[in-house]
Point group: C2
Chain length 236, copies 2
Amino acid sequence: MISLFARKIERFTKLPDDDHAALEAACDRTRRYRAREDIIREGDKPKSIDIIMSGWAARYKVIEDGRRQIVAFLLPGDLFDAEAFLLPAMDHSIAAVTPVTCAEIPRETMDDILRRQPRLAQAMWRDTLVALSIQREWTLSLGQRSALERIAQLLCELFLRLGAVGLTRGDSCDFPLTQSDLAEATGLTSVHVNRTLQELRARGLVSLSGRELTVPDLAALKAASAFNGNYLHLDD
Amino acid sequence: MISLFARKIERFTKLPDDDHAALEAACDRTRRYRAREDIIREGDKPKSIDIIMSGWAARYKVIEDGRRQIVAFLLPGDLFDAEAFLLPAMDHSIAAVTPVTCAEIPRETMDDILRRQPRLAQAMWRDTLVALSIQREWTLSLGQRSALERIAQLLCELFLRLGAVGLTRGDSCDFPLTQSDLAEATGLTSVHVNRTLQELRARGLVSLSGRELTVPDLAALKAASAFNGNYLHLDD
DNA sequence: CGGTCCCTTGACAGCCGTCAACTACCGTGG
DNA sequence: CCACGGTAGTTGACGGCTGTCAAGGGACCG
């Protein structure tokens, strides 16, 4: 059941069988969320650590006057709420983008894992470090890249991350984000995202319609965004 | 010697004495860097995990055409290079802003800590989660805040983080960043940072001269940047 | 006293935001 | 069947925040 997550963290170190068993046993329940439903809100103190089994979600932060920023996308296989386990309370919110199914690891189980499965705990810590690396790249993007580069960069990232968990079909993949979602993630307005997507299409870099993204020439899209995939830590 | 770091991670859970001893024993050497010297470069695979004992450093990323973004500041008590321990190679660089002194934990010692001191490992993981939370706030800032808000926000953050490790004096603190540093951290140009600082001074929100920052009214500065300090996880 | 780094200032331009209206699509229900 | 409403996408006109370019000033230092 937790195969996607296991596969992801085993990119670095193969886990022994008892860690697999512990992880398998830890995910005792699943939970479903509707599209656009909040999964956790800022200030909450959730009782479990979740792994996304299917669907897309978005971490977002709001400023009191209503401005809103998506700070990360969560894809199948991604672990989240480790922060809720180790920190006092959530400092941001998470919303489902599509219908989402999660596997839940209860807090008490996490306590056991930390004490008794150090390799598994280490793999989870490493997962946090990859998330941090991605967050740094978003900081770079928002600080330095133009609108076109930012959007191209984000599309590259999502395409590669989906590919890493086997969710691409050739040069295409599902793409449930609206232009407003893209705008909130890139710090642009949806109007400007719209114009920029037209530019990307005009250059033949992407085709994006009917909830499907096609990237005919990934190298070209990378070049357009000055993409450097090291930050994803997908290889080796 | 590692007191600042221990104090920082014990905000959440008191560590037992043997963890203290393990941490103390782990930091067997210190190393010094000159101001503006690179401490680690992208692609490196350092042999130790470092804790800053004194001075300021900056994590930064570059795009191949030369654009440069500071993605985090590292202050005394901060742990860094955990990513270098758990991930294949550095995906960014770190440079000293001032002269810096670091305590070094060798990789082999870290292996031992993970196996034998689960509470200490957990505290370090938590430290990574706080860094991730800060990185999310930077993403929010760059995506949504105006130039004035971004700079005010950053000044608030640095002032509070310095205060948490006892490095403020009343409403003042050392402030070694140049306007170019601020520009690279906020995604602005140094010209615009200059004008914006003048605006902040004109409003009486900060005074910044001779490497010293004074914040006469922290609440006012927070208000000017729509600051919400939850993300720092400094209390409780 | 020349050099370098940092800060400051002015004029101008451009990327992207704001505002507003319009189209397309789709599911619901009369 | 068509009216209806809501969401998503599109387009145009205009404005402003911030960048670019260029020059100059002040402080520190060898």
